[in-house]
């Protein structure tokens, strides 16, 4: 049984199509994160699952039941909203009980349910407070509590952490992860923050322009992006991309040849994008690396490491370097060394990853 299944889901507003036929299966108890730039259709997709947007075409099933024409309340899903949507005129307990009362759950059951969930979320002592008297993190917890009390089949999260400051966001991220482990409910989570996606997801769905670019576990996507978009979206800073041409033994970037693992011969002469993650370069030559001369613009110390902003030809590049050594010595760097096995190659025209034979 699948948790949520989308097949050929299309959303149009009049003549404008914004989601172009999405296929996605979320397994039961899986935590899937939809990530992409704003306007990529991720929120629309989530809202179609919730039933807040009508589906133009395609099939949506939840626990194998087609729900295209089922009202949101009957889909057995709960949603955590970006602005929490807590009712300011109700206290925490009444906010959480809102849906249960509408569903006419007996009073004593409501009470025990609310108390249990408040316990889990550490909200017990705040049950009488109004949302206005709570901190951002507490409001966030109430919003989750309101979803949890209903014991839905699926949790939907619409950028739930984007209204929190950076520190709290990290904390709540961990809390959501723990909660998911504990409750084991199928979850679909939308964010534009790739760090959230990497840390929370069992599988990540990268979306762009209303279509899915790639689906996979965080590490699959990080290590083997299927195109330049995914490569440029995940990772902080993202993967460096340089224009180049394949040769018999590697790739020519400007007038420098970078060694690549795999057989490049059959593709010799092909225009490609050469990708290398900022953290994958070394400052000293090692086994299997090739040097790339750079013009260093700027060194940004981050504490344990530093970012080197540099240029090679027309390409702007960023590299990460350890700061174990004297940070001043980094300002003298004029080349980096690129390990052949970590270089990614993409077709220059389509942006698709090229997988080279041995």
């Amino acid at each position: 049984m699948s948790g949520v299944n989308l097949s050929g889901i299309v959303k149009s507003y009049g003549a404008m199509q914004v989601v172009h036929g999405i296929d996605l299966t979320v397994a039961e108890k899986e935590f899937v994160v939809l990530v992409g730039p704003s306007g990529c259709g991720k929120s629309t997709t989530l809202r179609m699952i919730a039933g807040l947007e009508e589906i133009t075409a395609g099939d949506l099933t939840i626990h194998d039941r087609r729900v295209n024409r089922i009202a949101p309340k009957d889909r057995d899903v709960a949603m955590v909203f970006q602005n929490y949507a807590l009712y300011p005129h109700l206290n925490v307990a009444d906010n959480m009980a809102f849906g249960l009362r509408i569903r006419k759950m007996p009073k004593n059951e409501i009470k025990t349910t609310i108390d249990d969930v408040a316990e889990i979320l550490g909200l017990t002592e705040y049950l009488d407070r109004r949302p206005a008297d709570l901190s951002g993190g507490q409001r966030q917890r109430v919003a989750m509590g309101r979803a949890i009390v209903r014991h839905p089949k699926v949790f939907l999260f619409d950028e739930p952490l984007s209204n929190l400051d950076a520190k709290l966001r990290t904390q709540m991220r961990a809390e959501i992860k723990r909660l998911h482990k504990r409750l084991g409910v199928t979850s679909v989570y939308v964010t534009h923050d790739q760090v959230e996606a990497m840390t929370l997801a069992d599988r990540i769905v990268v979306m762009n322009n209303g279509a899915i670019e790639q689906i996979g576990t965080p590490m699959e996507l990080f290590n083997n992006p299927s195109n330049t978009f995914v490569a440029g979206f995940l990772g902080s800073p993202p993967m460096n991309q340089m224009k180049g041409t394949l040769t018999d033994s590697g790739a020519l970037v400007g007038d420098v040849e970078i060694k690549i693992n795999g057989a490049t011969g059959p593709h010799a002469g092909r225009n490609v994008i050469v990708g290398i993650r900022p953290e994958h370069v070394t400052l000293t030559a090692e086994e299997g690396t090739s040097p790339l001369p750079i013009n260093l613009d700027l060194v940004e110390p981050l504490g344990s490491e530093a970012l080197l902003h540099a240029r090679h030809g027309e390409d702007n590049l960023v590299f990460k370097a350890n700061t174990e050594n004297d940070i001043d010595s980094l300002s003298g760097v004029n080349k980096v060394h690129i390990p052949a096995h970590l270089v990614k190659i993409f077709d220059a025209d389509t942006g698709k990853a090229l997988v080279l034979g041995d």
Partner: protein, 293 residues
């Protein structure tokens, strides 16, 4: 706003002059009310001779005695309460659900309905067709006709619709996912969230009903149905050229002027009582309605 101590001498002088002018305008606004109150408590002779300026002359409550003894005064006072309370409740029962519906993006034909309602602000058929229509509907000389026929105006709907539109959509969506239908969303979420806006509209409605005069005068014939404002008008116009009254009054301590003033005071008092509550809201309320993107 800048601190007074940082003002230059010239600026201080300017501010003081302006404050004095504001004070004068305020006094000029207030004075007619004080004058009328003074007249109402003065003797008929003093009022007729134009002796009253600021305080009652030969203070007496004869004028109040005269009107409070008039059963018509109490009937019309009661009627005004009926029109005000009944009319306001009727209006809200139309306006609130309608404004909610118009604020929903999923309403098909929303543009049309908005235009359908707003059009009546720009073009109305005028007095005669409206009057003939009321007559054809059998609503002449009918209290229900007054309450129903003036229940809605487009401006109030648009004002409340704008407020409802400013409520984040996620409130409705959250309630919907929790299983609420539209009536529940409106009743349990939108109305509690819109208390200030609804209070503003309610108070505007109350004031409009309390002050309503022209159509009550035109449509109502029975004395048993007229509101206070119409009674007031009758009294003012009758007293001033009623010879019989002139003879009666010489014996008593009142005159047409003091009786008129006393009725004015009696009908202003409820407005003065609600006024502090209104003031909290109308400054925001007035801005809510007008300009919309």
């Amino acid at each position: 706003m800048m601190k007074w101590n940082l003002y230059s001498r010239g600026d201080k002088f300017f501010a003081i002059v302006v404050s004095v002018l504001i004070g004068l305008f305020t006094v000029a606004t207030l004075y007619p009310f004080i004058y009328i109150a003074a007249v109402s408590f003065s003797s008929g002779f003093a009022a007729q001779a134009g002796k009253v300026v600021l305080t009652p002359i030969d203070a007496t409550i004869e004028a109040y005695g005269y009107i409070l003894k008039d059963p018509q005064f109490w009937i019309s006072y009661r009627n005004t309460f009926i029109y005000t309370i009944g009319g306001t409740i009727m209006s809200l029962m139309f306006i609130i659900p309608c404004a909610y519906a118009l604020s929903r993006p999923q309403l098909k034909g929303r543009r049309f309905f908005n235009l359908f309602i707003a059009f009546t602000m720009w073009f109305n058929a005028g007095l005669i067709p409206f009057f003939l229509n009321m007559r054809d509907l059998g609503l002449l000389d009918s209290m229900f006709g007054i309450i129903l026929g003036f229940a809605i105006n487009a401006f109030n709907i648009i004002l409340l619709r704008n407020f409802f539109e400013s409520i984040p959509q996620s409130f409705e969506e959250a309630a919907r996912m929790d299983g609420a239908n539209d009536f529940q969303v409106l009743w349990k979420v939108f109305i509690p969230l819109s208390k200030p806006a609804i209070a503003t509209i309610t108070l505007f409605l109350i004031v409009a009903r309390w002050n309503g005069f022209f159509w009550a005068m035109v449509l109502l014939q029975s004395e048993s149905k007229i509101p206070l404002q119409v009674f007031l008008r009758h009294t003012i116009s009758n007293l001033s050229d009623d010879d019989e009254f002139a003879i009666v009054q010489t014996a008593a301590g009142f005159s047409a002027e003091t009786v008129t003033a006393a009725i004015i005071v009696c009908s202003i008092i409820p407005v003065l009582i609600v006024y502090p509550f209104i003031q909290k809201y109308f400054e925001k309320g007035i801005l809510l309605g007008g300009v919309k993107e």
